[in-house]
Assembly symmetry: D3
């Protein structure tokens, strides 16, 4: 059985991610969903904690009937690019192929000799984290862009209100 | 639905751990299996990498038909005990009760106001990580003490041979 | 007795900070002055070392006769926002209320269930770290904006000359 | 005015430490009390958090009427001995002389060219952290060995009960 | 014999660096080449790994017949400017004078009491890391700006192709 | 040309190490001397700083006429065994074979697919770091066991006196 690694930050886990998982599962038997920059949260581009992202992904995959073919792992940054591929590989069960549209992730895995595939473009451009967070800020209907289970997790975390605070630009 | 957190190092994931998960699932709807000291491996008491432990746990729970009620997360050490409870809580989806027989884990969670329950003693004392690693060293039949799926992962990792090397006491 | 936590970076400790402490002490019995990003120094926005900032705050509070109601603690960054509130709370004696005008600090403490109060605006807008550092750069009379004791510490550190070097934009 | 640096772990802050501060203040104008290994807690030899130790020291020094000549700083370990003196020196206001009975601390400061003095032996050998923690474990009258204010902090932290849990030897 | 410390990032090691070493060796007996930000790689401004930079410098110095008067050390960032001088000094054999055109490096060493000298401007402005990386991106003749031995290392690392990937701006 | 990696802690660099380098150079064209646990010093088993060890190795290899075939790199611990091989490999120029008598180093490199060779036993058992440090403690003639150049560095560092302080067992 072929197992894929699918790397992203999932800020938040939206319908584009769910489509990507389905697409990968049409080619592979199992997929490891690797949540990158897991230590980050409460930033404009990194709003949710690792636990919130795990919960969004897990509940969405369960809702879609895919939970038994998916495994979720968290990957904190190492801030040492040349170690990163090994770091992910140690945190994950073995995998056979990597899916990512991030050029740095792809380059690092290719230099390490891994097989890397591009994800097909999501069907609709709304399925994009930046777009979702933009709607959150402006009071738009972001919930529709997330799987229902993920939207519930984001609402419970009061995501829109958190985002409006953290975009003010303060750092600690 | 009640979600439990079950904390351990799972070096390796053996039948006692599987029994514990079953026991927790007789009381709770879901369980988060938190793999502690996830950055450690290749030590006499911490033989397996995080990824190998995730794979052992995941395949064993799947084999037992429990995968859809279990979620696995990895928890690297922070070496800062007073932060640890918060660290675990950030890495995990929300949970309602903690299961652990580790007195430090229990103390830290109790000081933080969490509900902590003891695990019932495993049925047989062989179900113990130290015992399993002892058998590995002496060439005993350790495989029987692991769920078949976990044993397969451990064999693929050449666990016994790795252990015989790392017990020599060298550090880097 | 009510103890307040007052969080800032104090780059440098200026008269606005001293006014804020006085204002807090009109409402609370004691205040913990928490110096954030304590590991930073020799940057355009983070000029002084932790020790220099401790000395500025301590000598200024002593000069103002407030030393026996104030306690100073240093808080290095953890670069892990979701842990930060717990991190500060572990480094500080217990406190009952948090004063901060930083929206991220306020959000993190509110999510953790703490009582957060806004600081009243400083009487004069010159009482602002960015303004003080601007004067330093342009050779203005920045010393007047600091309590005399803090100005002495800054002069001994040759702050203006250090700032002129570090604004050149080089990083290590 | 001569300012001294007094380095210890203060697990807990006991009467021997208070005597040492008094003795130093008979020779120097001010003392910086540096709490080492500040990130440690909930271990048999490192029971209290940094904040609890700060509170013990601060309340005890206040009770003794010494607060206005004392400054407390926390020093997390760097696990890099050759950097440690510089690390302490950055976290503390400038100081002229170092007091310590720890041979490593003394060696590192002497190699760095600092003036190091031995602390006079405490009057009574009970004034010793190991002895205090031993009494806590055995249910003895440890409170008498701490300044009253420090004992109150330790009691509020349920120190004896915490210690009895953490001596069981579990690590996370 | 006078030993110099020469600090840079060497991204990549080009002819300007080789000229600088020669110039320093006309004044000093030996030079320690300190490769800063050694943990960085695969970024637009930090393209090469530490090992690749060590190899470039070593082979170039050997080719120029200077290897027996040069020593190469790697210096990972500490992200704590006030510790940096000590950190470099611990990683290097003792040295008598520092050469750097980086104003922060110069400031930090001067505050620590070291003798700091400016490097004479390189003969030609092409001898500049930013210029070299710009040529790599645009398909220009960057190889001529490196010592032949360094160019061989950069070609083996497929530097230009790596750079074209990492400038796309993705982070992990 | 074959390049070897030779991993050790070199506490201190003694004649056994020099013999090992000569032996490796009888089989390979060049050797990278990798100084492990480089962040450690001032401990009974890790007495010298990285810089002192670099200087000992460099001067000894120069004295022996081997400097132009040897390259020295420092490797700080990562405390994450499964990353260690990659970490060393990033810090070093490429190498073709690894020499080490440390069973953990050998295991980790073998699991990573590298070619690992044992070092031939040193001719005399005195050529051993523990033995050298024992002589230092007891006032024996340890200098004879080091290459003359390394002994000079150790004497300048007042190694014996430092060791007598740090064996007292204090930690910071």
């Amino acid at each position: 059985m072929v197992r894929a690694l699918y790397v992203g930050r999932f800020q938040p886990f939206h319908k584009g991610h769910l489509e990507a998982v389905k697409s990968i599962l049409s080619e592979c038997g199992e997929v490891v969903v690797a949540i990158g920059s897991s230590q980050k949260s409460h930033e404009p581009d990194n709003l949710f904690t690792a636990g919130e992202r795990v919960e969004m992904a897990y509940e969405s995959l369960k809702e879609a009937g895919l939970a038994d073919r998916c495994l979720i792992v968290c990957v904190p940054d190492v801030n040492y690019n040349a170690l990163w591929v090994r770091h992910v590989s140690v945190l994950s069960p073995r995998f056979d192929v990597v899916y990512s549209n991030n050029s740095l992730v792809a380059t690092l895995f290719r230099e390490a000799g891994a097989k890397v595939k591009q994800l097909k473009a999501a069907r609709r451009k709304e399925f994009d984290g930046t777009h979702v967070r933009g709607l959150m800020l402006r009071g738009g209907e972001w919930e529709k862009l997330l799987p229902p289970a993920a939207a519930r997790v984001a609402l419970k975390a009061k995501a829109a209100s958190r985002l409006r605070e953290v975009v003010k630009g303060d750092k600690i």
